[in-house]
Symmetry: none
C-alpha cells in the first residue's frame, strides 16, 4: 500500500468515528419517536445535544483537517494524492465540501441557532394547536434573520437562498429552481384544471374498517416482496412516519396506521422503504466516507417517491397485490383492479401537503419555495405570511385554508430552521421520472414482471445504478450517467400527463 | 456562591457529560436485547466501543482531573474544599475513587475489552444454543486473560480477584467473601438436607396454560401497584431479563414469559423492578455525580431481591394478589393461598441459577465464585471448566447437567467479561435481610398493610433509606446507619431457617 492509500485509510478512520456517533444519534431519534417513556424527553434532548457537539467537534477537528490536507488542498480543491482512483478522488472532494461547510459557521452561531430552533419548534407546536400565528411570528422572524446570516456565512454567488439550497441539494440554485418550478407550476395547474373538468373518481372503497394488526402484517408482506430485508431493519409505529439511517445493516422505518383507511399506511410504508432501501444499499465498505452516504435529500426523495408513486401507485403492482389485499380484507372482495387503481390515484386540490396526491403535491412545494425565497430576500415580511400563503393557495390550488393551522402553520420545517429543504421534495419526484426513463429502457416489460409479483429486480437495478455509488457523483451527474440525458422536468410532466389523462379522460 | 461551590458545580458539569454518554450506551444495550435487527449486531458493537472510548477519555481527562484536584488531593485523598458539606465531600471521595480506577486502565485496553466482550456475547449465544462449549472457549480464554490483566492494572494487596470484586462491590475482598461463603454454604447445605427429608411441596398448580398477553398485562398491574411509574420506564421482552439505567426518568426493564408457567415472569418482573426503582429513586439533581448513582451491584441486587423474594414470595403479598391472579387465570380458582404460597417457595436443587429457589440460589453463586476465582488464579484452565462445573454441581447441589448449555454455558456474565460480579448476587440477598430488620422494626405490621394491597409505603421507605443517598455511603456504612448493626450473614440465615422450617416442617 502506498502512502496516499495509507493516508486515505487514516482519513476514512477518523471520519468513521463521527459517522458512528451520527448513527447513534439516529437510533436515539428513532427511540424517541417509538418506545421512549414520555418522561424521558428532557434527558433525550440533552443526549442529542451532547452527541451533536461531539460530532461537530470531530468533523471540524485539526486531526481531521490535517488528515484531509495530506490528500487534497483544502483551499483550492486540488487533489494532491493523484495516485488515488477516481472514486477516492470524488470522496476527497466531498469530504472537503463538508469540511468547508462545517467550518463556515462559528460555533457560537451553531449553538444559538440550535437553541432558537429548539425553542421555535416548541412554540410552533403550541401555535399550530391553538391556531395562533402571532405567537409563532417573533420566533420565525429570528429564524429568518439567522437563516439569512447563515447564507452569508456559507457564501453564495448570486442569491442568498442558493447557499441554503446547497445544504440539501448540492449545486442547486435559485435561478434553476425558479425556472423549473415556473414551468412545472403552469403545466401542473393546467393538468389539475383538466382533471377538475373530468368525471370525479370515487375512492370510498378505501375507507371502512381495516384493523390495525392486519394492516401491519400486510405492510410487512409488501416490504419483503420489494426486497426490504427485515433482518437489517424494522417496521414500527410513530406519530410522524420516518426512516432512520444508522447503518446499511440497521435501517429502520416507521408508519402510522389509520384503521379507517386501507391505503395511507401502504403508501407510507413504500415511501419510507424507499428511503431505507437506499441506506441499506449503500456500500458497507465505504461506511464513514462520502462514498458510503446518500447523495442528497433530493436523491433520497427520488428513492422514496419511486417506490411510493411510480411502483406503489402503478396498475401492475396492484394487479399482483390486490388479490393478496382482498385475502386480508374480505370487504374489498368486490373491488375491481381498475376501480382500486383509480381510487388510489384520485386527484383533489387540498390543504395539507403531506396528504396531497401526486398531481397537486408539487404545487404545495412551489408555494413554500416562493414564500421562503421571498422571506430570505426580504421582500416578504413574516407578519404577511398568512395572507401571502392564502392567496398563493387560491392561485395555485383554488382552495383556501379556514385557519393558519391548516395553512402556514402546518409544516415543522420553518420552525426547525430548514429553509432550503422544501424544494428537494419536488426535485425528488422529477429525478424519479428522469431515472425511470432508463429503467423502462432496460426493462421494457417491467409491468409484466411486477404484475407477476417479481419485484426484486427493481431494487437490484437501483442498487447497481444509484445506491452503490454513494456520493461519488452529484444528483445530476448520476442522472446523466444513467439516462444519457441531462436532467430536466420533461419526463415528469410526460408521466403525469399520460397517467392522469387515462385516469381522468375528457 | 463561594469558590468551592463553583468548582464543585464545574466538576459536576464535566462529570455529567460522561454520564450522559453512559446513559446513551445503556440505551444501545437495551435496544440490542429488545428491538435491534439481528444484522445490526456488528455496528452496535462498534458504537458501544466508540462510546466506551469516549467515556473513558472524559473520565480520565486532564480537564476532569484538574477540576477534581481543586477540591480533593487525588494522591492522598485529603479534602481541600472543607467548606463543602458532608454529602459533597463524600461525592469527592467517590469521584476520586472512580478516577483512580479509570486511570488504572489504558484507553486501548478498555476499547479492546469492550469489543471482545461484545463479540464474546454473540459467540456465547450461539455456543449456548448449540451446546458447544468448544466454540466459546477461545473467546473465554481471552476474556480470562484480559480480566487477569485488568486486575494487575487495577492493583490489589492480597489476591488478584480482590481487584475485580472491588469494581462491583467497593471494599469486598476474596478473604471476606470466602469466609462468608464458607459459612453460608454449610448452613444452606444443612437446610437443604433437612428440606429434602421433609414432605415435598407440590407446585404443579403453577404449570399449565397461561397465555403470553395475559401474563404481560398482569405484570404491568403488579409493577404499578408497587410504585413503578410507566411514564418513566417500560416493560419489554428479551431473552435474558435485565434492567437498564439511563436516567431516573428513563429506566426500563425486560422480562421473559413462559406460557406454561404462571410465576416465573412475575418473579422476574419484581426482580427487575427492584433494580429499576432504585435507579428511578436516585436524586435527579445529582445526576452525573456519585450522589446520583447506585452504591454497588450488591446494593442493587439487595433491591431486586427485596422485591422478588422478601415481598414477592411472601404470604401477605399473595393474600392480596392471588384473588387478582385468579381473575386473570380462571384455572387457578380452586387454589388456596397456602398451597400457592408453598408452591412458589418450593425448594429443589436444580441446574439453572436464574430459576433456582431462594434456598439453593446461594449455592449456584458459590460455585461460580469458586470457579472464577480459580480461573483468575490460574489454577483452573478454561478447557477444564465443564468438568469442574459438573463436579461442583454434584458436590453442592447433588445434581449434574446433562449438557453444557444447562451447565457452564448458562450465564452471560463471563462472556461479557464480568468476573467479580457473581458474588454480589448473594451479597444482595444478605444485605436485603440485614435491611429488613430495620424495615420490620419501623413497620411491625407491614404484613397487614401488604395483605390489604397497600404497597407504596415500601418504595417510600426504600427511597428515604437507600435510594436518596446515592453513593454517599458504602453498602456497609449505609446498612449500619439504617439498622444500627454492623453487617453480617446472620439475619439472612435466620430468615431462611424460619421461613423454610415452616414450609417444610419436620
Amino acid at each position: 500500500m502506498n502512502q496516499a492509500q495509507k493516508d486515505y485509510e487514516e482519513l476514512h478512520k477518523i471520519s468513521l468515528h463521527a459517522r458512528i456517533l451520527d448513527g447513534i444519534a439516529s437510533l436515539l431519534d428513532w427511540d424517541r419517536e417509538t418506545y421512549m417513556p414520555p418522561e424521558g424527553s428532557e434527558i433525550r434532548a440533552e443526549q442529542l445535544k451532547v452527541l451533536a457537539g461531539l460530532i461537530h467537534k470531530e468533523k471540524t477537528s485539526k486531526k481531521f483537517a490535517s488528515a484531509l490536507s495530506k490528500l487534497i488542498d483544502i483551499k483550492s480543491g486540488d487533489i494532491l494524492a493523484k495516485s488515488l482512483n477516481d472514486e477516492q478522488q470524488s470522496a476527497l472532494r466531498e469530504w472537503r465540501r463538508d469540511y468547508q461547510r462545517d467550518t463556515a459557521l462559528p460555533g457560537s452561531f451553531v449553538e444559538e441557532f440550535a437553541k432558537l430552533s429548539s425553542q421555535s419548534i416548541q412554540v410552533w407546536t403550541i401555535a399550530k394547536r391553538e391556531n395562533n400565528f402571532a405567537h409563532f411570528a417573533p420566533f420565525l422572524e429570528k429564524i429568518v434573520a439567522m437563516s439569512r446570516k447563515k447564507a452569508d456565512y456559507l457564501g453564495y454567488e448570486n442569491h442568498p437562498y442558493d447557499a441554503l439550497l446547497d445544504i440539501y441539494e448540492q449545486g442547486a440554485t435559485t435561478e434553476e429552481i425558479s425556472s423549473i418550478f415556473n414551468g412545472l407550476g403552469k403545466s401542473v395547474s393546467n393538468l389539475v384544471k383538466k382533471i377538475s373538468q373530468s368525471q370525479p373518481v370515487d375512492d370510498s372503497i378505501l375507507h371502512g374498517k381495516f384493523p390495525f394488526d392486519k394492516q401491519l402484517a400486510f405492510s410487512k408482506k409488501i416490504m419483503q416482496a420489494i426486497g426490504y430485508d427485515l433482518s437489517k431493519g424494522r417496521l414500527d409505529i410513530s406519530t410522524h412516519p420516518f426512516s432512520s439511517a444508522c447503518h446499511p445493516k440497521d435501517s429502520r422505518i416507521t408508519t402510522r396506521i389509520h384503521p379507517s383507511n386501507v391505503f395511507s399506511n401502504i403508501a407510507t410504508v413504500l415511501h419510507e422503504c424507499g428511503h431505507s432501501l437506499y441506506e441499506m444499499g449503500l456500500p458497507v465498505e465505504h461506511y464513514g466516507s462520502p462514498l458510503g452516504e446518500a447523495i442528497s435529500l433530493g436523491m433520497h426523495e427520488c428513492q422514496s417517491r419511486w417506490w411510493e408513486t411510480r411502483i406503489g401507485h402503478s396498475r401492475p403492482f396492484w394487479q399482483h397485490f390486490l388479490p393478496e389485499l382482498k385475502k386480508t380484507f374480505k370487504s374489498l372482495e368486490p373491488v375491481s383492479l381498475d376501480s382500486f387503481y383509480r381510487a388510489i390515484n384520485k386527484v383533489t386540490p387540498s390543504l395539507i401537503r403531506v396528504e396531497a396526491d401526486e398531481v397537486t403535491y408539487p404545487l404545495h412545494v412551489i408555494l413554500r419555495y416562493e414564500l421562503e425565497k421571498a422571506l430570505i430576500e426580504g421582500t416578504l415580511k413574516v407578519r404577511d405570511i398568512p395572507e401571502a400563503w392564502n392567496s398563493k393557495m387560491q392561485e395555485l390550488l383554488g382552495v383556501v385554508p379556514q385557519n393558519d393551522s391548516a395553512g402556514c402553520l402546518q409544516d415543522i420545517h420553518w420552525a426547525m430552521g430548514g429553509f432550503g429543504y422544501f424544494p428537494t421534495y419536488t426535485l425528488g419526484n422529477l429525478y424519479a421520472s428522469h431515472l425511470f426513463m432508463a429503467f423502462e429502457k432496460k426493462f421494457p416489460k417491467w409491468q409484466e414482471l411486477v404484475a407477476k409479483g417479481e419485484l426484486e429486480f427493481i431494487k437490484e437495478w437501483l442498487t447497481q445504478s444509484v445506491y452503490c455509488h454513494g456520493r461519488r457523483y452529484t444528483s445530476k451527474e448520476l442522472l446523466k450517467k444513467i439516462t444519457g440525458k441531462p436532467f430536466d422536468a420533461k419526463a415528469y410532466m410526460q408521466y403525469l400527463t399520460k397517467k392522469y389523462e387515462e385516469i381522468y379522460p375528457k
